[in-house]
């Protein structure tokens, strides 16, 4: 059965940043220079083709964009300046919107005003909420930062963290499930046995933690930066989700603090590096910046900076009031950043990428099995 082409999908993807994909004339250069492109996952050309032709269903089912790390080799050598790397990036944004069950992602990516408004709204709600909470249920006085009578007791914030984390995780899980359905579940060509799902599941945490595939790019620096960023972020996540109270504890928990400093330095360093790159447009990766990239990076810098500032104000200068104000400001950045970015925008790729590697592995195995004669026999048996 023939698939219907849609010459207008390209217009939609333009909103996600694919501004040059129409220039591609399919010489195959990009797929061949890409160190990750190998059978059965040939990209970026093929994904670009689906996009150009408007084969929406095919495009929504591709794993390839998640296998791309945007090293920029393809864009640098593209004879038509069709920016394959950026196109893959744009497809990732579009895919994020496709996976998202709420439809908010679509709204945010297509309109930076909507995203900014959402961020501001959540920020205001967070600020107002914590202020009210502090005044009503907390210590009541902005002058106390930590200990009993703290304006925002660590234990309460911790509970809030877990509620927020749980909600976001649930949303993300729903998105991941939809990703599975679009890329693997509905695809009749790949039949993945249940056992494979179990035995290969280790790939998800492996890729999540190590980002090892990224290292296969010709230039190692982007991987290093990315790794530092992710490691810092994870450290912070662990600290906040598990050790928030000990961070706030009056006698300084040196070990926790040491990790905190390290993570903060990592976050600030990498994000500032990324911002500088985007500002200078140094590499193909940085030449094109979708508005959402800026929102994300600025928020991250802001959160890291306010995080360390409130810490410094309290620990080093003993300015409790100022620390509390900055803490609320910090939360006003952190909450919207997490609420918007994790399930609906850029941050979600932390989940999608390792998942995609996992699915890709399953696909590869399924296809290999189908191709080999033994597999061919086992298929009717399974049916």
């Amino acid at each position: 059965m023939a698939v219907r082409a849609n010459p207008r999908l390209i217009d939609e993807l333009e909103l996600y940043g694919a501004e040059d994909v129409q220039k591609c004339y399919h010489c195959g250069n990009c797929s061949a220079v890409c160190p990750f492109s190998r059978e059965p996952f040939l990209f970026p050309r093929k994904s670009m083709r689906y996009l150009q032709m408007g084969l929406e269903e095919r495009l929504a089912g591709t794993l390839e964009p998640w296998l791309c790390y945007y090293c920029g080799e393809c864009s640098e050598q593209c004879p038509r300046e069709a920016e394959p790397g950026e196109t893959m990036m744009s497809i990732r944004r579009w895919l994020t919107a496709q996976y998202d069950v709420t439809g908010l992602s679509k709204l945010f990516y297509r309109s930076w005003r909507a995203e900014l408004a959402a961020v501001l709204l959540v920020a205001l709600l967070t600020g107002a909420g914590f202020l009210l909470f502090g005044l009503k249920y907390g210590g009541g006085s902005l002058g106390v930062y930590a200990g009993p009578g703290a304006f925002l007791p660590a234990s309460s914030v911790h509970v809030f963290d877990w509620i927020l984390g749980g909600t976001l995780a649930a949303l993300l899980a729903a998105n991941c499930a939809r990703m599975w359905w679009l890329t693997t579940g509905r695809d009749r060509r790949v039949r993945v046995p249940l056992l494979d799902y179990v035995t290969r599941a280790f790939l998800v945490p492996l890729h999540f933690v190590t980002q090892k595939r990224y290292r296969e790019c010709e230039s190692k620096r982007p991987w290093a930066v990315h790794f530092a960023l992710v490691a810092s972020y994870l450290t912070m996540l662990v600290l906040i989700m598990l050790f928030l109270e000990s961070l706030h504890a009056a006698p300084a928990n040196r070990l926790a603090h040491a990790f905190g400093y390290l993570a903060t330095a990592g976050l600030l360093g990498t994000t500032l590096y990324a911002l500088r790159g985007r500002w200078r447009r140094a590499t193909p990766l940085h030449r094109h910046s979708h508005e959402t990239d800026w929102v994300f990076l600025v928020l991250l810098v802001y959160v890291a900076a306010t995080g360390i500032l409130q810490h410094a104000l309290y620990r080093w200068f003993g300015l409790d009031t100022a620390a509390n104000v900055v803490y609320i400001a910090h939360l006003m950045g952190a909450v919207p950043m997490l609420a918007v970015e994790v399930p609906f925008s850029k941050w979600s790729h932390l989940a999608y990428r390792p998942l995609a590697m996992y699915f890709a592995d399953l696909h590869e195995r399924a296809l290999a099995r189908a191709a080999s004669p033994a597999g061919a026999q086992s298929v009717p048996a399974a049916a």
Partner: protein, 571 residues
């Protein structure tokens, strides 16, 4: 038939690099030749046609007082003129040369070195036997009529005419239609610079109409062409009346016609009202109304390349202009209908001309969707169903994605290829030129001589020779004019020394030869009661010589004696 006394023959065998020497033992031929009667020198050399090779021949002629030369090398169609010149430069009559074709008809077609060498030996031996019977022939000169007849008033014809007329030479354009301009008049803008075709034509048209040296015959057709280069007589029928023109040369610029798209069943042309040809779209563009049959404005316009071209079933060749024309339509449709989507279905994108690749990129940048289909697997067009939000659906096997897809479209434009006009065969016969397997006129050599034909004085230019775009047609038309101007500038032309002659003493006056001659070149002398050949009209086919019952007609350079000797030689 007596052998001439003591011929002094030189045999020169060319290795042609390794082209000949790889299969034919050239040294062996040279050695063997020394044994043949009359041969005083035989040599093999790497490139006989090169300067030193020719010099070698000339030197041997002078030193060994050769009076006959045999060159065993490539086809005489290739280098006979070269070696004739070499003979002439050493003071020998150029017709005392015979060539043995041991390359095209020997070394290149045989693998076995022994058999090939044997065949080459036979051919060389025959050439030696024949050359003994050669006689010195003199070229003659005939006056060159500076007037030119241009067949066809399209862009090529007008260009050639203007070029000649601007040089002060009289030209007559014979155009079958009732206006000049040909197919270019049917288009609006030209690719890739989107220039106005109207302006291009208007300029030419104005100059042609106002030029004192050009006369234009519209609704006119060539009926007969007689004579020979420099001195033709053409009968032209102009609106029923016949006119006789005296001319020196003819430029054939009869152009092309478009392929009949209805022949490709699956495209639905003629069946589906919204499937149109490129020329029909041009008309819409000129009128400013790109519309569907029901008057609605199309939301998606599809362009299908290679309709009738590059296919096993229709024409195997590429029509050369359609790719760029299709890209032009991409721009034009987007300009006239900013909201419309354009889909372009192609096989390979032939954007090879100056500025064309750039144009291709720009067309892609305005988001034309390019879909690639396979050769011999044309897309199929069918009407869309009531639920579809389009008028037509095109199904194709898309090569770059590997998907079988269907594309919605409201209007489909078929890029029809070029094919020879129906009357090309008649024209070819009238002016005595050949056509290739596709029906295009054949040039005398694609690289050496792209505008001349096998008949002297007849030139071809433009798309009647093979599909061409405007700049290439213009260049070729001017090239044809250059040839004619060169001859006109000299005022006279050489006529080949090869023609038939009648031995009046032997002629019985039966007049069989006269009935055989296709050119009416044989007159009958009532007084002498014998036939006589008009040398300038004779084209040396030798048909009369074969038919003469009393052996009175001699076909010079192809006499019975020469051919008999050659037969003995090859066996």
């Amino acid at each position: 038939m007596s052998r001439p006394p003591l011929p002094r023959i030189g045999v020169f065998v060319c290795n042609c690099g390794t082209n000949i020497a790889r299969t034919v033992d050239c040294e062996e031929i040279a050695c063997a030749a020394m044994e043949w009667p009359g041969v005083v020198v035989a040599r093999a050399y790497k490139y006989m046609c090169s300067d030193p090779g020719q010099e070698m021949i000339a030197e041997e002629v002078r030193e060994k007082r050769l009076d006959r030369v045999v060159v065993a090398a490539c086809s005489p169609r290739m280098h006979e003129p070269t070696f004739r010149r070499a003979l002439a430069s050493s003071g020998l009559n150029p017709y005392l040369l015979e060539m043995a074709n041991i390359r095209e008809q020997c070394s290149w077609v045989h693998d076995d070195p022994r058999a090939a060498t044997d065949k080459a030996l036979a051919l060389a031996r025959a050439a030696v036997a024949r050359v003994v019977r050669h006689e010195p022939l003199e070229k003659r000169f005939v006056p060159m009529n500076p007037a030119t007849l241009v067949l066809g008033g399209g862009i090529a014809g007008m260009t050639a005419a203007l070029q000649l007329a601007d040089a002060g030479q009289p030209v007559t354009i014979v155009e079958r239609a009732d206006r000049l301009g040909g197919n270019v008049a049917r288009i609006d803008l030209t690719a890739p610079h989107l220039d106005s075709a109207r302006e291009l034509l208007l300029g030419r048209l104005a100059r042609v109409s106002m030029h004192p040296m050009i006369s234009v015959l519209l609704r006119a057709e060539l009926e007969q062409l007689e004579g020979y280069q420099g001195n033709f007589t053409a009968d032209v029928a102009v609106e029923g009346a016949s006119r006789r023109l005296e001319i020196g040369s003819v430029v054939v610029c009869t152009g092309y016609k478009e392929f009949d798209a209805a022949r490709v069943e699956g495209l639905g042309y003629g069946r589906l009202p919204d499937v149109i040809t490129s020329f029909e779209l041009e008309l819409m563009l000129k009128r400013g109304r790109i519309e569907m049959a029901d008057g609605r404005t199309p939301r998606t316009v599809a362009l299908v390349h290679c309709v009738g071209s590059r296919s096993e079933e229709y024409h195997g060749y590429c029509s050369r202009v359609c790719c760029m024309t299709a890209l032009k339509y991409g721009h034009e449709v987007k300009s006239a209908l900013p909201g419309a989507a354009v889909v372009d279905l192609y096989i390979d994108m032939h954007a090879f001309g100056k500025g064309c690749e750039d144009f291709y990129r720009k067309t892609a940048e305005i988001k034309t969707l390019f879909l690639m289909y396979g050769k011999n697997a044309p897309p199929v067009i069918r009407p869309a169903g009531p639920k579809d939000d389009c008028n037509l659906l095109i199904t194709l096997d898309e090569k770059l994605s590997g998907e079988e897809i269907e594309v919605p479209a409201d209007l489909v434009v078929l890029m029809v290829g070029m094919e020879p006009r129906e009357d090309a065969g008649r024209v070819a016969q009238l002016v005595n030129i050949s056509r290739d397997k596709d029906g295009w006129f054949i040039e005398s050599h694609p690289k050496l001589d792209p505008v001349a034909t096998t008949t002297d004085g007849i030139y071809i230019a433009g798309a009647c020779q093979s599909p061409k775009d405007i700049p290439d047609s213009v260049a070729q038309a001017r090239a044809a004019a250059a040839r004619i101007l060169a001859k006109v500038a000299k005022g006279k032309i050489e006529v080949d020394a090869i023609f038939a002659e009648v031995d009046a003493a032997r002629c019985s006056g039966c007049r069989i030869c006269g009935t055989m001659c296709p050119y009416g070149a044989i007159e009958y002398d009532e007084e002498q009661k014998s036939s006589r050949v008009v040398e300038a009209s004779c084209k040396a086919c030798g048909c009369c010589a074969a038919a003469c019952p009393s052996l009175a007609v001699r076909a010079r350079h192809f006499t019975d004696e020469q051919i008999f000797a050659q037969i003995e030689g090859v066996l």
